[in-house]
Symmetry: C2
Subunit: 203 residues, 2 copies
């Protein structure tokens, strides 16, 4: 399928979707209603097309979910691979990953939001959650190495540090846009400073 350019006016109500534009609208509906509560009928209404027009692009609702989580997980895995390949110290690699995770989250926000909210028992959901856990393990390995190198406090648990760091980053999907913080670099600065050095002022 050749991607077609769509304009905003085409996206609203006109059957001129390429696959990516279609996915964007569907993911917004999944987030709004929850994946399981979102019927093909709801998607068709949001898209302003018939149900059969959706099946022209995808085989099932589940395929849309698969495409959405592939986008989030593909980006995350790519970022981890890049982080692992960075020069500098092992802590530099953790810091690089932290900064780029914030960027990834802001750029791919709806797809990451959907991924973070998956709790279901379908094959696609279970596969996505397993892949997410594997990504977390790779991040934990970076943290553990930095700790072994003496660059992360020895009294912290590597597992807990990884989960808390990611918890801080992932929370951004819940509050970032709402508060209208415009500057992503400022957001990155806040996350990096708190994670690396804490919020306590130093004399």
């Amino acid at each position: 399928m050749t991607p077609q350019k769509t304009t905003t006016s085409q996206r609203r109500g006109r059957p001129g979707y390429d696959r990516e534009a279609l996915l964007e609208v569907c993911v917004a509906e999944f987030i709004k209603h929850g994946y399981h509560a979102t019927s093909i009928g709801i998607l068709a209404e949001a898209l302003g097309v018939s149900k059969s027009a959706i099946y022209h692009h995808v085989d099932s609702k589940e395929q849309l979910l698969e495409m959405a989580v592939e986008r989030a997980l593909g980006a995350l895995e790519g970022t981890i691979t890049e982080a692992e390949a960075q020069a500098g110290t092992s802590l530099d690699r953790v810091e690089w990953l932290l900064e780029h995770s914030v960027h990834l989250l802001v750029t791919e926000r709806p797809y990451v939001t959907l991924l973070l909210r998956l709790r279901g028992n379908t094959e696609v959901e279970l596969a996505a959650m397993a892949r997410r856990r594997a990504a977390t393990k790779r991040i934990e390995a970076l943290v553990r190495t930095a700790q072994q190198d003496g660059l992360i406090r020895p009294d912290l648990g590597a597992k807990a540090t990884t989960r808390l760091m990611l918890g801080m980053v992932n929370s951004i999907v819940d509050w970032y846009q709402l508060d209208g913080t415009a500057d992503v670099d400022e957001l990155v600065h806040n996350v990096r400073t708190i994670a690396m050095d804490g919020f306590r002022a130093r004399p």
Copy 2:
């Protein structure tokens, strides 16, 4: 209604629930299926009682949600009020709140989990989300005061700092039990250290 003592065997399948035990089982089902997807039929099956037995205790599914979020929000608001009344510096109050938030989350975990996952549009959900936002604002005021007192880094946003700190704490509902971290004091230590001083080792 006088609360009755129930034993574990009574909780499994026998209609000997007091209101609190009933709520506990229902909240677990809400978390498992999502609140909206959980019917009174599902609740009756999990409780091992008839639907009418549930209506002996509560008027509606929504009342169960109300009781659950009251428990989480009541505990949170109480903790904030205690934090505001603590002696010491304004940063001590933030630190006190941080530590006690972790304890609250571990103790009231199912109720907090349910609260954090609410996204709906019913009156009860909207009221709970508004109350949660008000609590966040009170925490932000504590952070802002500590920053004005020169005890929190001046280059951080008070809003972002508050949200990131809470994001770190709230993430615990998603990973704590799964990893089987047994020691809550250790968890508190990890959270407090990272939030206040960061994970970077100091020479």
